[in-house]
């Protein structure tokens, strides 16, 4: 009966699944995302009927993932709460007493959260795509179109990685309110101000490193649909993964040093 990483992982997995809020948050998020995708599809369809011209594949795909740009915040906050919830309730003391070396807790939380969100976000993004395209009918894109399966995977991966980004921010800052504020500032407020403040020729260089912009670029079919010139989906995924790694690493180092 020793402490091992697979066991810590099993513990974190059971902690993730044994909270009602996990199911509530992710369930509502899934339904809202797919529902909004349908609404966007319906809206685009109406504008086509009104003589707006049929969307190309890239536009049809990005319409389906428009809701993803917003629920990404929910997923990020969900990640934050995986760690700050432990501090808020004091259960962190139980957790760190059981795993006094601490770093396995962060790793296990990240792996458990990924294990839950990868299939869920894949289903959500696939559902969003299909429901949106169903409303578009003949004008919609299909999974058989080039780049489309990759775009669906990219959208899902963007959500998963943003959730892990939240976990990193939560680990670093440990207080729910502060961590959520920091996350919103980093994902929405900061980029909006930055986009406005930077000269146009510099904006592209900076903005494509912003996590939210990178997450959007990951589901782009042809690089369009974003006000900034972004990296390719693969490089954008690396940028976002880099942020995740950086924050989780910083969070782990801080967690190891401070008093619980």
């Amino acid at each position: 009966m020793r402490l091992t990483f697979p066991r810590v992982l099993r513990s974190e997995w059971s902690k993730l699944l044994s909270l009602r809020s996990t199911w509530l948050t992710l369930g509502v998020m899934a339904v809202v995302t797919v529902g909004l995708a349908g609404a966007v599809g319906y809206g685009v369809h109406r504008s086509v009927l009104g003589g707006g011209g049929a969307p190309d594949v890239a536009r049809a795909v990005s319409a389906g993932f428009l809701p993803v740009d917003f629920v990404v915040l929910v997923v990020g906050v969900f990640g934050v709460l995986q760690m700050t919830g432990e501090y808020g309730t004091g259960s962190i003391r139980s957790t760190l007493t059981a795993v006094p070396r601490r770093w396995p807790v962060v790793c296990a939380k990240a792996v458990a959260q990924a294990a839950l969100t990868v299939p869920l976000m894949t289903v959500v993004c696939l559902g969003s795509f299909l429901v949106c395209q169903a409303f578009l009918g003949a004008d919609g894109a299909s999974l058989g179109d080039p780049q489309v399966p990759r775009a669906v995977a990219g959208a899902a991966a963007g959500l998963v990685l943003t959730g892990l980004l939240g976990l990193g921010v939560g680990t670093l800052l440990r207080h729910s309110a502060g961590a959520i504020t920091a996350l919103v500032a980093a994902m929405f407020v900061g980029p909006a101000l930055l986009g406005a403040a930077l000269p146009a020729d510099r904006a592209d260089d900076v903005m494509r490193f912003v996590p939210t912009v990178a997450a959007q670029a990951m589901y782009s079919v042809d690089g369009s649909g974003n006000p900034f010139k972004t990296f390719s989906p693969a490089v954008s995924a690396l940028v976002l993964a880099g942020w995740v790694a950086l924050l989780l690493l910083a969070g782990t180092l801080v967690l190891r040093r401070r008093d619980a």
Partner: protein, 298 residues
Amino acid sequence: MIEAQALSKRYGGTVAVDALSFAVKPGQVTGFLGPNGAGKSTTMRMIVGLDHPTSGTATVNGRPYRAHPDPLRQAGVLLDARSVHKGRSARGHLLALAHTHGIPATRVEEVLGLVGLEPVAHRRAGGFSLGMGQRLGIAAALLGDPAVIILDEPVNGLDPDGVLWIRNLLKDLAAEGRTVLVSSHLMSEMAVTAEHLVIVGRGRLLADTTVAELIARVAVGTVVVRSPDATALRDALTATGAVVTGVEPGLLHVTAATAEHIGDVARAAGIALHELTPRRASLEEAYMELTGSEVEYR
């Protein structure tokens, strides 16, 4: 076995624990006693690695707690603050802890039964009373069947039945050969539970002693004697070296003599005794005297 070596913790300019050295031995209940703010909780948190000492070391069974391959089997800890996620059931909380060490689910049911939480094990811990929370914390501490048990103010929030239950539990755990360290700010509680005492004030060690030694050390025993012939008795006793002070007519306080000795002297002198009461200094008095100058908050 718990050993602290010159353990210190400073928060900015405040010294919470000041070069504390002590050892807690197995097979007996050790009371960790001190006024509020004396550094008891901080010390306990440093023992299990939740707080990092500013200097000094603490070991559990010969190693720093975090260096053990099976921490929960080495030491179980109940801290004074809540350590449970409000949204998780008691069973869910214990299962999650058990998973980290591969402790079987049957052990979770066992400790739930031991602390009497079986009927509410499925309920979310956020709705638990203070007493139920304490019981859940004790269940978590016992989960790994650890050799060392550290409980911070375990009787807080428990009803009289619960207090009695804790006392017996602690004694049983010690009788099984475990190391049991229990903190309290109440001497009266420790007097009936602990055999050994580690007393701290303002982070410093005031005494590392047994309950019996503490009494003997701090106050001299007095015998209260009532006699219709007090003056003659006083002379007879003084002649044998006892120190006698008259309190009121017919009543004497005698020190430096046992009750047996006083009785014998009275009998030999043909003096009747109406009362012969050995008055031991109470532990409470001994404790107050030790910590009187070390209370941080009044």
